[in-house]
Subunit: 341 residues, 2 copies
């Protein structure tokens, strides 16, 4: 049989095999909402440069079956800080929620206006909190996050996200995610990675938006916790949020949180400089080899914000340990998905 | 074109479409290790009866696309107690580990033989623990689970599982899992459920065998915890297990653990009667509708063990709330996978 006849006779086989590949390919995309349409470049918002190349090289290396650095799917764990790593943190989104809630509480009960810490919040009295110290901020968190059922809190958070506007950028808070980082999450998942959030923010707060904003289900969110009880209330058993701090998932708390929720070291970990909050997580990840550590440097006052740690500890640690530093200014072609004003 | 000609012309299409279905079907099975070979009956170790029929009816109902009770894949969460629900608990496997470890500690340091609680353990002095109360048992746990790195503990647990024999049944401890329950885990996963363990046992202990014995990855294990620190030790940062109790994942601790690790109510929850340890978890699950609650009654002294709660609280709660009770004697055709002696 010559080639033409072979093709003629087997055209169905070829056609259906091709269709099958297309169908399987498409169905594997429906499991999450990609930040981009299908393209040959998995990271189109990243400028071509050392950081992007290093990411692609690492992912290729650990997912290539005959590579000495091949990592099996169940060990492809990636953990991401949230504030300043996946979305803007100037100010903290959860801080906006606390502010709005305190104002709503004072509107419902005007006598609170003359009581601290409500008074300081309403009057924007930053000096009060500076003098009262960290305990006063914790007190604020407990007053706004405790003494209610889990369902009540979830409803409040969702309604905040429905309407809240991010200051300075003047867009809905749900739009201040970094487009290059959402592409990175998609890219890792497309390569069999499990993506997790490991945030200093509250676990219950972040879980309300992890799926729609990042494609990360609630059970893959690690965060700070308050204490809770399972109690009977009005004839129904409920999860009751107590006004007491549980575990702080920041700094050395991050490896502990990862161990608690995942039980294994991430081979990919991403954080940012601001407070040294991610140094321990990146250190923990690096003890696993092969592994990849990413640290975002906020150096773009034009398109985002420029800020540094007083002691530069995170960038110093990155230099000493060979972590990959993202310069927002140089590495990101776009920062947000909304149009620049 | 008559029917015969149509078939002749399109035979490739039909053939390859059929092959595609077979290939996709097979590839969906490779993600976990099923307890059984492929069969028309997904629960062959269950006797035909009300319990088995209710399980199949529930799973069919929540997975049928046009059913009013359809539950989307991301909400198909199933939680299983471990001791007495997935494997035997007379005695507790983790208790055997503690015993073996205490004996090894005393062998390495003979002066411990005259000190409590080591002395009581070595001499099998149950009366000592009865008088010293629950605190003495906790002390035993801390002495055997704390003051070491996470890696050291994991290694000890794995080596225990390599050699330990289960008393009375005289088989390796890894063989005392219930075959019908492993089939149930497989059946639920084949229907898009996420299967979780929610055990009163230690999270670090259970995680070492959850994947090989039940096809449940470590990150889907919820259990009791000890406190930990991330510290530098001999020039390396490690997770250090402190000899201090963290959270007890039993009774009302179970809904709290599920909320912490999953962040949503299970629509399927399974536990057993012995101590009332699963009542809160099943109550919590039932507030979600549709949902299914399963409670195992250990009523088979011939093939397993027969035991009841002094106050019968679990079985009473099952009756009052319409939970499905598994009678091991009547509902299970087989209990274990190993041959009866």
């Amino acid at each position: 049989m010559n080639r033409k006849n072979f093709l003629k006779k087997h055209i169905y086989l070829l056609l259906v095999a091709f269709m099958t590949i297309v169908v399987i390919g498409l169905s594997s995309l429906t499991a999450y909402t990609p930040a981009q349409t299908v393209s040959l470049d998995p990271l189109p918002s990243w400028n071509d440069g050392a950081t992007k190349r290093a990411i692609v090289e690492f992912v290729t290396r650990v997912t290539t079956a005959n590579s000495p650095d091949f990592v099996s799917v169940e060990d492809r764990i990636a953990t991401f800080d949230n504030d300043g790593t996946l979305w803007a943190e100037k100010p903290y989104v959860q801080g906006l929620f606390v502010l709005e809630k305190i104002k709503a509480m004072a509107a419902a009960n005007p006598s609170l206006r003359s009581q601290q810490p409500y008074k300081a919040v309403i009057e924007g009295d930053v000096e009060y909190f500076r003098q009262a110290g960290e305990a006063s901020l914790m007190d604020l968190l407990m007053k706004t996050h405790g003494n209610m059922t889990q369902e009540q809190f979830d409803t409040e958070v969702r309604s905040f996200f429905d309407t809240a506007i991010y200051p300075k950028l003047n867009v809905p808070v749900t739009q201040v995610t970094y487009k290059p980082m959402r592409e990175l999450l998609d890219y890792l998942r497309a390569n069999g990675f499990q993506t997790w959030i490991c945030s200093g923010g509250g676990i219950d707060f972040v879980r309300q938006i992890s799926q729609p904003l990042y494609g990360i289900p609630p059970q893959q969110v690690i965060g700070s916790t308050g204490k809770k009880e399972f109690i009977e209330k009005d004839g129904k058993f409920v999860i009751w949020k107590l006004p007491e701090l549980g575990r702080i998932n920041d700094k050395v708390g991050k490896p502990i949180g990862i161990d608690l929720h995942i039980g294994q070291r991430p081979i990919f970990a991403a954080g940012n400089e601001r407070s040294g909050g991610d140094i321990a997580m990146l250190t923990y990840s690096q003890q696993q080899q092969p592994s990849f550590q990413l640290l975002i440097d906020h150096d773009d006052s034009d398109r985002e914000f420029a800020y540094q740690e007083p002691d530069n500890a995170s960038l110093n640690a990155a230099k000493a340990n060979g972590w990959h530093v993202v310069s927002i200014k140089n590495d990101w072609q776009e920062v947000f998905a909304f149009p620049r004003k």
